[in-house]
């Protein structure tokens, strides 16, 4: 069975802290994604990676960075957390059979609800 796991379901941090959100997939997928979900705004793409050590900015990358050292793991980093980064963070992965463009669906993790005080 397909599985995407995220390191924490709930996380509370203080303004200015460095925050790491971890995501692991066990499906050998090439593509991995980080989204944030906010009421009324849907899901917005922060960063994605189509291969190890490769990354591309999504629609809202400001204040975030990512790391993909191994194929199965994709980390989202908040260098200095701020209150406006309080949100639900969702990781996803996708098998890519034909390079960077694919019609395959994404598989999502359960989400991490981050609160920054």
């Amino acid at each position: 069975d397909v599985k995407v796991t995220q390191s924490s379901r709930y996380l509370v941090k203080r303004t200015g802290e460095k925050v790491f959100l971890e995501c692991v997939q066990d499906m050998d997928h090439e593509n991995m994604f980080w989204y944030r979900q906010d009421p009324g705004l849907g899901l917005r793409l922060i960063y994605f990676s189509y291969d190890v050590k490769m990354k591309e900015k999504g629609d809202i990358p400001e204040g975030y960075s990512v790391s993909r050292e191994k194929k199965e793991r994709f980390s989202l980093i908040l260098e200095s957390a701020s209150t406006n980064q309080t949100s639900m963070y969702l990781c996803a992965s996708r098998h890519d059979t034909s390079g960077r463009s694919s019609y395959n669906e994404q598989f999502f993790g359960p989400g991490t609800r981050l609160t920054v005080l």
Binding site: L41, R44, R100, Q106, F108, G111
Partner: protein
């Protein structure tokens, strides 16, 4: 730029009645269209997708969606709603040449007895 509109924040339906959740899209090329469902405190689950071919797509849990190119719509439907269908539904689109999936803002479906 590609975009998705889900015009209804919430849809209320009585159990046993048919349901429709609306979605319209905008892309520059041929669209790949998806529906996902999110139950409370869970991640998103894939329901169905349209890539090419038959305009009526069947998916999980008895859901189906109809692709209409002239109206640029991809409405989600189910002939008979269940209370357990109550959840948040997201429509998403990707251009066939692109790699990024754009999501709508979501529609909360509430099915009552």
């Amino acid at each position: 730029a590609q975009s998705v509109a889900q015009p209804e924040d919430q849809v209320n339906v009585a159990e046993g009645n048919p349901l429709t959740v609306k979605c319209t899209y905008s892309v520059s090329g041929n669209p790949y269209l998806f529906w996902y469902v999110q139950y409370p405190n869970r991640g998103l689950q894939f329901l169905l997708k349209y890539i090419t071919g038959d305009n009526l797509v069947k998916g999980s849990y008895g859901f189906e969606a109809e692709f209409n190119k002239s109206q640029t719509s991809f409405h989600l439907k189910k002939p008979s709603a269940l209370v357990s269908d109550s959840a948040l539904y997201f429509c998403a689109v990707r251009d066939e040449r692109g790699n990024k999936l754009t999501f709508g803002t979501g529609t909360q479906l509430k099915v009552e007895l």
